[in-house]
Every structure is written in structure tokens, then in C-alpha cells.
């Protein structure tokens, strides 16, 4: 570990202030704005956790809904038997174990198998959970009665988001982060430098899955009644992919840039055109692929590089241009 630079300390202070300001929101509003901000913080946590794995590896993971649902369901199942913080940790562990199993089955082979496997994972877990619950208890769905209100969920999520950011930053400074960077650039090179690529990918996927499971667990008290189709809705996975890529996955704070405008858009759409959310999501995917391949942050960085370049002086011809 190297010492913190001046810039890193400044970033940490700005981030801490931003978190503190965001935390005061429930003091001003307990209705619509809190609800909207809660959704934003939830997706900020999910998208950042998603990017921890999918950013460096470029593997499009659609397992978010599965991890999220497992977290939610763990809380629903255990509420009568265990204290809430312990349940959140259990949900987190359950999601990590699932991520480990999925990773072990698919991440040793090529990335396509991983995408296909995660594509149906949420639906698979939903079927198994529904089947097991009906067989064992004879009923569907769970009641989640807690003393938590929306503002408590909001604060917990905000704290989680902070932890995810901190973890992401620590990973980037660690050997794991350095190795992932090499894997992302060229996997063959990574293998030849003695990096156990499959194992590192699995570890990173488990970290990412654990945070998503934790977010699902924290969200459980928001709904008094939880049933499998709602807890495991595949929409969660797709929205996370859209928002994370919209923001850009090269920077830790990239997904955050995607979450805020897209949540506002979805909020507007779901009020005005409630039946057309799929069309909007379809267009969002196409916009990302054709217009924003590196996300909004990628475009901003291009713009920044362009502005920083001295415009008036003639550019020297580089060897590449000459060739």
C-alpha cells in the first residue's frame, strides 16, 4: 500500500461531504423525493457493485436480480428467528456463495458461457425458491414486518453505497485490482505473467455478488410482502446493466453518472407512459452501443482531452499518422 496522495485525500473529503449532505434528505421530505432518492441510491449501490466485476472483465453479468432476490428472501425467511443485522450478513454470504458456484461453473471457460448462464439465473433461482417454499411450507411469499421506515432503509443503503465505493477504491489499489487491469487489457498476457485469471475473476464476482445480496437484504423491509416473482424480477438485472454502461465503467464513479439521469427518465416514463418502459429500455441499450460505447464519462473524458489539447499550434505529425 502506498501513501495517500493529496488528490485522494481531497476526493475522500468531497465524497464524505456528499454522503453527509445526502443523508440529511429525510429531514426535509418523507414522501416522493425520499422514495425517488431511495431508488437512486439503491441503483447507485447495485451499479457500482456490478461494475466492480463487469467493468474490468467486460463480462455482461445478468445475475444481479438473482443475488438481490436472495438477499431479500433471506431477510423475509429469517425475520422471526434472527436479528436484522445478522440477516443482512447472511443474505450477503448466501449471494457470495451463489456467485462462487456460478463463477466456478462458467468463469473457467470463455465469457459467453457466463453471459448465457447468468441470463436465466434469476428465473432459475425463482423457480427453485417457489418450489421449495410451496413444498416445505405450503404457501407462496413472505410477510416482512419491521420497525424500519423508508428513511431507515435510505440511510442503510447510503452507508452501503459508501462501503461499496471504498471497497472499489481499495481493490483498485491492491494486487487484485492491478491483476484485473492486466486481465482486462489482455488475458493471454495476464496468464503468462503467472496470474490465476479464473480464480481472481471468481473472487471478484463473489465480492460484487455479496454487495448486491446485501442491498437486496436492506431493501426487504421496504415492502411488507415479498413474493418470488417480485423479488427476482429480471428487470433489476437489465436496469443495472443499462445505468452502469450509460455512466461508463472505466471509473469507479462512472455508474453514478448514469444512475441519476436514467432514474429521472424512468420515473417520468412510468408516470406518463407506463406501458412503454420496455421500449425505453430497448432504445437505451441501442443508444449505449451506437452512441456512447464508453458511457457518458468516456465522452466527457474525450471532451476534456480535446479541450486540454492546445488548439492554435500546428500538431506535429506522429509516426502513426504518417504510416
Amino acid at each position: 500500500m502506498t501513501r495517500l496522495t493529496h488528490r485522494e485525500i481531497m476526493t475522500a473529503i468531497v465524497a464524505a461531504v456528499a454522503l453527509a449532505v445526502a443523508a440529511t434528505l429525510p429531514l426535509f421530505d418523507q414522501g416522493y423525493y425520499l422514495s425517488l432518492s431511495l431508488n437512486m441510491v439503491m441503483y447507485a449501490a447495485l451499479c457500482t457493485a456490478w461494475t466492480l466485476f463487469s467493468g474490468p472483465t467486460h463480462y455482461v453479468s445478468l445475475a444481479t436480480a438473482a443475488f438481490f432476490g436472495i438477499g431479500t428472501y433471506t431477510v423475509g425467511l429469517g425475520l422471526d428467528h434472527m436479528p436484522f443485522p445478522l440477516l443482512v450478513l447472511t443474505g450477503c454470504a448466501a449471494a457470495a456463495i451463489l456467485a462462487g458456484l456460478v463463477g466456478a461453473a462458467t468463469l473457467r471457460i470463455s465469457g459467453v458461457y457466463f453471459v448465457i448462464f447468468t441470463f436465466g439465473l434469476a428465473e432459475l433461482i425463482r423457480q427453485i425458491v417457489s418450489y421449495a417454499q410451496i413444498k416445505l411450507t405450503g404457501k407462496m411469499g413472505l410477510y416482512v414486518f419491521t420497525d424500519f421506515t423508508e428513511k431507515h432503509v435510505y440511510w442503510m443503503l447510503l452507508a452501503l453505497t459508501g462501503v461499496v465505493f471504498l471497497t472499489g477504491w481499495l481493490i483498485n489499489r491492491s494486487r487484485l485490482g492491478f491483476a484485473m487491469q492486466i486481465i482486462g487489457n489482455d488475458e493471454t498476457v495476464a496468464k503468462h505473467s503467472g496470474i490465476d485469471t479464473a480464480r481472481l475473476k471468481i473472487v471478484l464476482f463473489m465480492i460484487s455478488g455479496a454487495f448486491i445480496g446485501m442491498a437486496g437484504a436492506i431493501l426487504a423491509p421496504r415492502y411488507p410482502y415479498v413474493e418470488p416473482p417480485a423479488a427476482f424480477t429480471p428487470m433489476t438485472s437489465f436496469l443495472v446493466v443499462i445505468m452502469a454502461l450509460l455512466g461508463g465503467t472505466r471509473r469507479l464513479w462512472g455508474p453514478l453518472i448514469g444512475v441519476i439521469p436514467f432514474m429521472l427518465l424512468m420515473d417520468f416514463i412510468s408516470v406518463r407512459f407506463p406501458n412503454d418502459t420496455s421500449i425505453v429500455m430497448g432504445i437505451a441499450f441501442l443508444v449505449i452501443v451506437y452512441l456512447l460505447p464508453d458511457g457518458i464519462t468516456g465522452r466527457l473524458e474525450q471532451l476534456w482531452a480535446y479541450l486540454k489539447k492546445p488548439q492554435t499550434q500546428p500538431q506535429p505529425v506522429t509516426a502513426e499518422e504518417r504510416a
Partner: protein, 288 residues
């Protein structure tokens, strides 16, 4: 026995959508996640032709398949070709094509929800019973299976007995070497993609004769087809057919013997077995 026959009859339809997908992914190198939407769109067009104009779905295929061919040709040339051209390597193309076809998936699904609503739809076609070895099966299922066999056989003849078909198979094996022997790879890829769309549409049309469908079920079929394609080996038509039949039987068996809500679990169990023991597919060769 009854389970096996029902499973095989269902597998016939799965085979068509999977052959479609394996052509698109194996030859054109596009993992088309919107394939299920072509499938569902064909169901709706068949339904519309049957109820509005009393067109027999089997004749309807003659309209639906060429239409799907041209639509898919257009999608490939306009939207996916630019991605192929800009991709620096196979990995980038995979990510781009996955995201682009997700876009198409949601766009088409949204448009179909607008057009037809979210309710389950079905129509009565050949709802008689048919005797196989002393047990009765729906005549429409048997006819659909027969039609699927005819279509698959025609495709087989095309791929293995004509020059165009040989070119398509050559691109599936290795696009770079195919270029060296004078094959227009871009054209063969577009042809394979369009052909894959047409076959998928045939599958959809046949399914609509015996199955109730709705606008948002395409994803489920895409998922099953993807798993079949991996099981059979990417780009391998024979493998896709056999894997489809295995999946049809496995699903029917689980639905009958354990619980109809666990069909996807059956699919995944097969998928995990393939991943652990033969990741290259049933007929696939070991990659170096």
C-alpha cells in the same frame, strides 16, 4: 413412453429456433438475444393470418419465413454489420452484439406489447387427437413436428449439398481461412443471419398451432435456444437438433414427474452437465 413422445414432439419446435440461433451465432458471430422476439412475432403473424384471412398456418409459413428472412437481413446489414466492422476482436464484438440485441429484444417486446397486449393468445387448429402406439396426442403437435422435420431436412440439403451451403459452413469453421478460398464472408454471414431468422420464424409459426403465446415470452425461448446451441456445439446444426430433442424430453419428464414449475431447473441441470463435461458441445471439437 408417453413422456418421451411428447418431449420429442416439443423438441421439434425447439430444434428450429435453435438451428436459427446456431446459424446466427456460429456463422455470423452474432449472439442474437432478440431471436425469441422473431419467434414470438411469427406466432402473432400466424395467428393474425389464421383468424383474419383463414390462412392455414402451414401455408402461412410460406409468407412468414421469407418476411422474417428479409427483416433479419435488414437488421444485420443496418445495425449489426457496423458492429462487426468496428470490433477489434471477438470479445468486443460479443459484448457489443449482446448489448445491441438486448436493445432490439426490449424494443420489439415493447412494440408487440403495444400492438397485441400482454394477454396469452391461442387459436384452434387441427385440435383432433392422433394415435401413436396406443396413446393419443394432439394432431396439431404431430403435424407441427412433421413440418419441422421437413424444414430441417431442407436446410440440411441446402447446407451439405449446395455451394452456398458449403460456403456458410466454411465460414462457421473459420472466417479467415474462408476468405482465402474466395468466399465472400460478409455475404455468407448476412445470408446465415437472415436464414437463421427465417428458421426461427418457422418454429414460431408451428408453435403457435398448439401453444398459447404472449408478447413477453420471447426471452424464455431465447434462453432455451441458447442452452441448446451450447449443448449442440456452436454452429453445428446436427448437434442443435439432438440437443433440442434431449431438452424437450428432459423438460417434459420434469414437468410430468416432479413439478411443471421446474422446467427451467431441468434445462439448467443439463447446461451445468455440459459445462462441466463437454463445454465444446456434443459434436464440438476440443479447442486448442
Amino acid at each position: 413412453m408417453e413422456t418421451i413422445v411428447t418431449g420429442i414432439l416439443l423438441g421439434g419446435t425447439y430444434a428450429l429456433i435453435s438451428i436459427g440461433l446456431t446459424l446466427q451465432y456460429g456463422v455470423a458471430r452474432i449472439m442474437n438475444l432478440a431471436n425469441g422476439e422473431t419467434f414470438v412475432a411469427a406466432c402473432f403473424v400466424a395467428f393474425w393470418l389464421f383468424t383474419s384471412y383463414a390462412v392455414n398456418p402451414l401455408w402461412g409459413i410460406l409468407i412468414i419465413a421469407p418476411a422474417a428472412f428479409f427483416v433479419n437481413w435488414g437488421i444485420y446489414s443496418l445495425l449489426l454489420r457496423p458492429l462487426v466492422d468496428r470490433a477489434k476482436n471477438q470479445g468486443m464484438l460479443e459484448v457489443d452484439s449482446i448489448l445491441a440485441t438486448f436493445g432490439l429484444l426490449f424494443l420489439f417486446q415493447g412494440l408487440m406489447l403495444r400492438g397485441f397486449g400482454g394477454a396469452y393468445t391461442s387459436y384452434q387448429f387441427l385440435a383432433d387427437r392422433f394415435d401413436i402406439l396406443g396413446t393419443f396426442y394432439g394432431l396439431n403437435r404431430v403435424v407441427a413436428f412433421g413440418a419441422a422435420c421437413v424444414i430441417a431436412a431442407a436446410l440440411y440439403l441446402f447446407l451439405y449439398k449446395t455451394r452456398y451451403g458449403t460456403a456458410v459452413r466454411a465460414v462457421a469453421v473459420n472466417p479467415n481461412s474462408a476468405k482465402l478460398v474466395g468466399i465472400d464472408v460478409a455475404k455468407a454471414a448476412a445470408l446465415a443471419f437472415a436464414l437463421g431468422g427465417a428458421l426461427t420464424a418457422c418454429g414460431g409459426t408451428l408453435l403457435s398451432t398448439f401453444y398459447s403465446f404472449n408478447a413477453s415470452m420471447g426471452v424464455v425461448f431465447t434462453m432455451k435456444a441458447l442452452i441448446i446451441v451450447i449443448m449442440g456445439g456452436v454452429g453445428d446444426v446436427r448437434g442443435a437438433v439432438i440437443a433440442a430433442l434431449i431438452l424437450g424430453v428432459a423438460e417434459t419428464a420434469v414437468a410430468r414427474l416432479i413439478d411443471p414449475g421446474l422446467t427451467l431447473a431441468a434445462t439448467y441441470a443439463l447446461f451445468v452437465l455440459v459445462l462441466l463435461f463437454r463445454p465444446q458441445g456434443i459434436f464440438g471439437r476440443q479447442q486448442a
